[in-house]
């Protein structure tokens, strides 16, 4: 305890320097965790979607559609429990063209039951006597009663200050024209992987309004026995191999991982920057720490004269560095984690961010390492000091 007291007194001796060093380490770790958080968020988005569901897309690429005729064929395949389909709508807000969120045309009566484990309806327009198809959440009755209806994520709903029953207007990009949609229900996610910033509407509406041009973007299906997923996927692809639209089937998780791999080496660049930041600040902090010790050479000589052991001096100096970097690192890493998870970054796709605890731990590890490395040389010097040499330097 006496040692800690000395460490504290030493830190308070030049408050300005302590504060400046603390702040620079704090900023370095804040930035390190922030940058790692971006890659964490990307990695986390590879885990969107489950291993228990399969996604079938056109073999050439996602951009090519699939014919609806494949629905019955997949559904009647032995071992397939349920099938649904969806299609990317695109579209822009004519007033705010940069207001981007995902919009999907889905087959409601099969889609919502498929994702019942991932999301649930929190608000919905009154049913007014209408009913949902069997097996679908009864709260969606108003959605099914209205062909132009849509369901939106709660986050999206709140951030746009929408109301139930409100009509939103979109301009089609893939499917030309003006598209009005009426908000009939709001969903909330049960799992983080199922985003809350998506809009779903009736595929039938898309089909009719596009003069029956619209097809299927992807089929999502669940095998009765999840351990058979890979085998069933292969059978589906084999069935369509020589048809007008050959397919590629993979788990939903692999499907979303494909999107992340599209970022190329950008995540790598970000990680390198994070390390460079931590390293450069670390270097400066180490030098400051050494200067702080050198200034106190004669104090250490006095302590030694008073009978302090070499080991105790070593510990005091090392602890001083460690306490400083660890506390600054802890504050910086935690602030980055909570700030990011609460408010995200002002960038498209990063409004919700995830920072793993592993990243915070990595940051803290770096802080400890920083303290050790920058403290060890001055600590060693201070402990090896010969009293005569040191005192000779006094005045």
């Amino acid at each position: 305890m006496a040692l800690l007291g000395m460490v504290w007194t030493n830190l308070m001796r030049n408050k300005l320097r302590t504060i400046l060093t603390w702040l620079s380490v704090f900023v370095a770790l804040f930035l390190f965790v922030l940058l790692h958080g971006i890659t964490d968020t990307l990695t986390e988005s590879t885990k969107v979607g489950s291993e228990r569901r399969l996604v079938t897309r056109n073999k050439i690429s996602l951009v090519f559609p699939l014919p609806l005729s494949q629905y019955e064929k997949i559904k009647s395949m032995p071992g397939v429990a349920a099938v649904t389909w969806s299609n990317w709508f695109g579209g822009t807000d004519p007033v705010k063209p940069n207001d981007f969120y995902a919009r999907f045309a889905v087959d409601g009566k099969t889609y919502f039951p498929m994702y019942a484990s991932d999301a649930y309806i929190v608000q919905a327009s009154p049913a007014n006597g209408a009913t949902s198809p069997s097996g679908v959440d009864p709260k969606l009755a108003a959605f099914f009663a209205d062909r132009t209806a849509c369901v939106v994520g709660e986050k999206l709903f709140l951030s746009h200050k929408w109301k139930l029953g409100q009509t939103i207007h979109l301009t089609g990009t893939i499917y030309p024209g003006a598209w009005p949609f009426v908000i009939r229900a709001v969903y909330r996610s049960k799992v983080r992987a199922f985003g809350e910033e998506t809009m779903f509407f009736h595929w039938d509406y898309l089909y009719e309004r596009s003069n029956r041009q619209a097809q299927v973007g992807i089929y999502t299906f669940s095998p009765a026995d999840p351990s058979q997923a890979a085998a069933i996927g292969k059978r589906v692809d084999a069935m369509f191999e020589n048809s007008e639209a050959a397919t590629h089937t993979e788990t939903e998780r692999a499907f979303s991982a494909g999107f992340v791999s599209m970022w190329g080496n950008i995540p790598f660049v970000i990680r390198v920057i994070g390390l460079a930041v931590a390293f450069s600040i670390f270097l400066v902090a180490a030098v400051t720490m050494m200067m702080a010790i050198r200034e106190r050479t004669n104090e250490f000589a006095v302590l030694k004269t008073l009978g302090f052991e070499d080991g105790a001096i070593f510990a005091v100096v090392l602890l001083e560095a460690g306490v400083l970097t660890l506390s600054a690192g802890l504050a910086g890493s935690l602030l980055a984690k909570f700030l990011l998870e609460k408010s995200g970054l002002p960038l498209p796709g990063f409004s919700t961010m995830i920072v793993h605890w592993e990243t915070v731990a990595l940051g803290l590890g770096l802080a400890v390492l920083m303290g050790l490395v920058s403290g060890i040389l001055p600590a060693w010097q201070a402990s090896r000091l010969r009293i005569v040499d040191a005192l000779r330097k006094v005045g």
């Binding site: 030049n14 300005l16 320097r17 400046l20 060093t21 702040l23 620079s24 704090f26 900023v27 370095a28 804040f30 930035l31 922030l34 940058l35 050439i60 690429s61 996602l62 951009v63 090519f64 695109g90 822009t92 940069n98 301009t171 089609g172 990009t173 893939i174 030309p176 024209g177 020589n242 050959a246 590629h248 991982a257 494909g258 992340v260 791999s261 599209m262 970022w263 190329g264 080496n265 950008i266 660049v269 920057i273 460079a276 930041v277 390293f279 450069s280 600040i281 270097l283 400066v284 902090a285 030098v287 400051t288 050494m290 200067m291 200034e295 970054l345 002002p346 960038l347 498209p348 005045g395």
Partner: protein, 387 residues
Amino acid sequence: MAIPLGYNIRSAIGRPWATLATAFGIGMVVAILVLALALASGFQAAVVSTGSPNNVIVLRKGADSELSSGIGRDQANIIKSLPDIAPGADGRPLASPELLVLINQERKQGKGTSNVTIRGVDSEGLALRDGIKIYEGRDVAPGAAELIVGKRIADRFEGFGIGQQVKLEQRMFTVVGHFSAGGSGFESEVWGQNAVFMPVLREDFQSVTFRMKDPARFAAIKKQLEADPRLGVDVKRESEYYSDLAGPLATTMRILGVFIVLIMAVGALFAAMNTMFASIGARSREIATMLTLGFGKGSILLAFLVESVLIALLGGIIGCLLALPVNGTATSTTNFSTFSEIAFAFQITPVALGIGMLFALGLGVVGGLLPAWKASRQPLAAAMRAM
């Protein structure tokens, strides 16, 4: 009276490690700033240089990129008959209706998959674009199931070597050539012929691009085409179309870059102030001596400010030198505006280096001001007592 510059230079050299560490800290900030700017300008250059201001691109009304567009053969013929289109060497209008699809392809070295743009062009397609050069192999033979592959795709993706076969729908295509396009986005594409693609891939075109006889008439051409009830199209200059596509991602890169650099600058600033304070603290008696000798407070302030700026500028130079080797390094990502792979190179411009040096200068001034002010305000008696 001013304190000689030599004093500051020798002081800085006298504490080499502290000086170098501070300079290095500032250097890292400058390096990352320069690289962030280089990344964004490299990306923008690649995408924007894809389009020419003398060319016009026609898309279906409301389509935000070629991918979501569709133009029928009849409409393409109407557009091609426009008298404003410049004639080519053979007297035919320099216009190319183009078909566009994406194929999902493996990157080399197991780095995942990405979408590669396949573009079908008419024979005018090459003549329309400046700087397209086949550097290996040959151009496609008319009517043959052959492809030419952009340099960036040939380098980065599996299966596009000359002589290799690529399966599109049910038909095999042979890669016969590799082309470069002056670093533009076309280098991230694979080209073939409409006539061969159409029966296999899709029934409509995605865009029509043509060269204007008189680029000054763009506004009139746009008005005429967009008003034509048979068409239902949006008309843009090709250059404007591509810069719109680059916009969102380039902005993201810049925001992220500036954001990182600003936070980092704060950290470096604290560190620079720290070393400057320490270096001044260790020199109280020198400062007291100078004050006693009759140097004014102003000259002391200036001297230490200059010292801080010198260290920061050294840092700026270190930063620029650290960043320079990255110039030209190619990287790639997906431009989500087109949903396809785009490769580009870090492009370190003199402007980026200039901004980096200015930034270093700013850090030096801001970081040095407080310590220098403190040095000049040192009470003489206290400073002398330190002796």
